[in-house]
């Protein structure tokens, strides 16, 4: 069924004991995983709502990724650690722990061939590991500031990493060589009065045809410390490299795009959170402004698109994970 963003509605809610940070569906679409301010990872079975808690990190968990077969979860912690987990285990225990970085690991991604997992964070180095055994493969030094986001090109040849300064580095996976940079400097600002760097490439996404990438985050940060900034996504042509579009908003003056994904139907979906609330924003590929804005009812902090293309998970400050369906509500069952 084709997704209908204008029919978006909250279809399910799951609640935890502490505010949530990030979320991902497993590749088979059976579970949704979230991370929390209480340092745990929570797994909810979508069909039953059954909740299972994964505990091993000594800090917040920044990102999640899965092996291609969907059997293994790899979590990236602010405790320097990558941890391998069995996705579906009744009582999950870590399979493997790797001290991967010095400082927060903010992003983790698995290559499309399933061989490698990449990680990056506050030590400014992107690292490559074997999914099979956790062995270190290669390092990609060169970011001037914290690495915020990662994405493998589906051909496996390249790895993309975005940083605080709004730079997306395109690395050759096999050699570690920096192939080129995408300059998304609109996503970064330095506020001289507050003396802070702010923004960053919070998310990177490919279009389904792989002809474009989209980097997202925030801009117009008039008061970084006071959360006054606006969401923005910047679209680049892959070849030749060219900035082609800035996706903006009219009426979200306090928000950041925590993540963007391109729906198989072609529209761009962004998850925005901030002083104006939490929203799913939908842009046409050539749209300057969203063609639809769906209010989520609470500040959103991350999102993921289900493999069926019809469900979006978002995590929130109010401790809830919400499942939004992109199709009309099922009619109410007639009363018997």
């Amino acid at each position: 069924m084709k997704a209908d963003p204008k029919a978006a509605h909250i279809a399910q809610e799951f609640i935890h004991e502490a505010p949530l940070i990030n979320c991902r569906f497993d590749p088979k679409g059976l579970f949704v995983f979230a991370t929390s301010e209480d340092r745990s990872i929570i797994r909810w079975e979508l069909a039953s709502g059954k909740k299972t808690v994964f505990s091993a990190h000594d800090s917040w968990v920044g990102d999640l990724a899965f092996s291609i077969d969907g059997a293994t979860l790899i979590s990236a912690g602010y405790d320097d650690m990558l941890i391998w987990w069995p996705v579906a285990a009744e009582k999950p225990e870590p399979i493997r722990k790797v001290k991967a970085h010095s400082g927060w690991i903010r992003a983790v991604a698995v290559s499309k061939d399933g061989k490698y997992v990449a990680s990056g964070g506050n030590d400014r180095v992107v690292k490559l590991w074997n999914v099979a055994d956790g062995a270190a493969v290669r390092e990609f030094p060169g970011h001037e500031r914290d690495v915020y986001s990662l994405l493998f090109h589906p051909n496996g040849q390249f790895l993309l990493s975005g940083d605080l300064k709004g730079q997306v580095h395109q690395w050759e996976t096999a050699t570690g060589k920096l192939a080129r940079k995408f300059d998304a400097k609109d996503l970064h600002s330095y506020n001289g009065g507050q003396q802070v760097d702010f923004g960053g490439v919070r998310s990177i996404s490919f279009t389904p045809d792989l002809k474009q990438i989209i980097a997202a985050g925030l801009h117009n940060a008039s008061n970084p410390l006071g959360a006054v900034h606006e969401p923005i996504a910047i679209r680049f042509d892959w070849e030749p490299l060219k900035l082609t579009k800035k996706h903006l908003t009219d009426d979200v003056k306090q928000g950041v795009l925590w993540r963007v994904v391109v729906h198989p139907d072609g529209h761009l979906i962004g998850c925005s959170g901030g002083g104006n609330g939490g929203f799913l924003l939908f842009w046409a590929p050539d749209g300057d402004k969203p063609f639809h804005k769906f209010s989520l009812g609470n500040t959103a902090r991350e999102m993921d698109l289900h493999p069926d293309g019809l469900r979006i998970a978002t995590v929130h400050y109010d401790r809830k994970l919400r499942i939004t369906r992109l199709e009309p509500k099922a009619p109410d069952k007639p009363k018997s």
């Binding site: 301010e37 209480d38 001289g192 507050q194 970084p224 006071g226």
Partner: protein, 420 residues
């Protein structure tokens, strides 16, 4: 007895003073102060963490609680004392430092918080109190120094003088080094030769002397003092020249503003400046508190630790009190933007150096940092402690137009457990 002493000392000082500034070194408690000062002059360094440093991301971490946030606690050089993992270099200097973890200033306002932390008084109508820098500069003013006793290094700005000495008068107001640059207007104008400038000053002095022979007043004395102090300052301008510090120290402290300002603070204290205040900005992190504290504390940690180590190795820490303060702390509650808001109810300050019981921790908060559970103190207690640690009588008074004004708020007293 203390008031009697203060009154007598005040009268003696007034007789010799200009009239524009009242009180003086006379209220200094130790009678043998003058000789001792020349040898072991006390100094003070204040680092103002502008905007409200989070105690949870610095001196009083609460990892693995509902308020603790993502950062972990690390051990320090003082057994049993842990601080935030954002301060690994500072942790190694903890045996030179002490922590006050039970501060409750009952205030969440930036301006009021800054005022009370720098004056020791809660702001009230009808009277303005001098900041700690002015009080310390006046207390240790032996009237024989040509360099200013009260220097403020700001992150930006052009410099100048601040109105922070209240009734102690302009002599003790801070000389501001805008972005760490030398004081304003202390270089000869381009094209004016030194010899010509000296001839101009000679002419000025001749005219002054002629005028003073007939119409000398306290005011004219103050003018003369100001001119002569400015001349002395111009002659010693290299005191403020950071390029004279070794390149390896620039590297060690970091080539960012705060690193440069810490190195300048070391230089100024070494040159005998009585009071130096620097600030680090900005900690008012209502939004993305953890990202910003990672960024800011990452910049603060190494130069601060280097400064403490250097002061110790150069024998200066024994004579220099160090205080890292802020206008308040930040809420234990983490808000929807991953931020922390203003919080004066249970927060921390770091002290060290001269007069401070090193390695001490005074005060305690509950498991998630929402309440002080032991040894609660106010800004007033801290102000008394600074003075007592420097060997001053914090219960003495200044005479302001015939009215005795306590140097520190008499509603409070020093934290004796922290005084070495």
């Amino acid at each position: 007895m203390e008031h009697t002493m203060a009154r007598r000392q005040f009268l003696g000082t007034l007789a010799a003073g200009t009239g524009a500034v009242v009180g003086g070194l006379g209220w200094f408690a130790q009678s043998a102060a003058a000789n001792q000062l020349a040898k072991d002059q006390k100094r003070m360094l204040v680092i103002n963490m502008h905007g409200g440093l989070s105690q949870l991301e610095s001196w009083d971490p609460k990892p693995n609680t509902n308020t603790g946030g993502p950062f972990r606690a690390i051990p320090t050089s003082v057994p049993g004392v842990h601080i935030s993992e954002l301060l690994p270099y500072t942790a190694k200097q903890m045996h030179h430092l002490a922590l006050v973890r039970g501060i409750n200033t009952k205030n969440d306002d930036h301006g009021k918080g800054t005022y009370m932390m720098l004056t020791g008084y809660h702001q009230r109508a009808g009277i303005d109190y001098p900041q700690i820098g002015a009080v310390v500069a006046k207390s240790f003013d032996a009237n024989d120094r040509s360099l200013p006793g009260h220097i403020l290094i700001t992150p930006g700005g052009a410099g100048g003088r601040s109105a922070d000495s209240a009734y102690l008068g302009p002599k003790y107001s801070s000389v501001v080094l805008g972005n760490g640059n030398p004081p304003q207007n202390t270089a000869l104008p381009a094209g004016l030769a030194a010899a010509t400038a000296e001839e101009q000053q000679t002419l000025r002095r001749l005219a002054n002397d002629r005028f003073l022979g007939r119409r000398r007043t306290a005011q004219t004395d103050a003018y003369v003092q100001s001119f002569e102090a400015a001349q002395d300052l111009m002659k010693q301008r290299d005191v403020f020249d950071l390029t004279k510090e070794p390149e390896k120290d620039h590297d060690r402290y970091g080539k960012h503003d705060f690193g440069r300002h810490c190195l300048m603070a070391r230089r100024l204290l070494e040159k005998g400046i009585t009071f130096v205040q620097i600030s680090h900005s900005n900690y008012d992190t209502h939004n993305e508190n953890f990202n910003f504290h990672f960024e800011q504390m990452g910049e603060f940690d190494k130069p601060f630790a280097s400064l403490i180590q250097d002061l110790h190795e150069r024998g200066l820490l024994a004579h220099t009190m160090v205080v890292v303060l802020s206008e308040f702390g930040r809420t234990p509650n983490i808000n929807q933007y991953y931020g922390r808001d203003h919080w004066g109810k249970a927060w921390s300050v770091c002290l060290g150096g001269a007069g401070i019981a090193r390695g001490a921790v005074f005060g305690k908060t509950n498991a998630n940092g929402t309440e002080v559970t032991e040894n609660q103190v106010d800004a007033g207690n801290l102000f008394h402690t600074y003075l007592r640690g420097l060997g001053l009588n914090s219960k003495a008074t200044f005479d302001v137009g015939g009215r005795r004004v306590p140097v520190a708020d008499p509603a409070f007293g020093p934290i004796t457990e922290l005084i070495a």
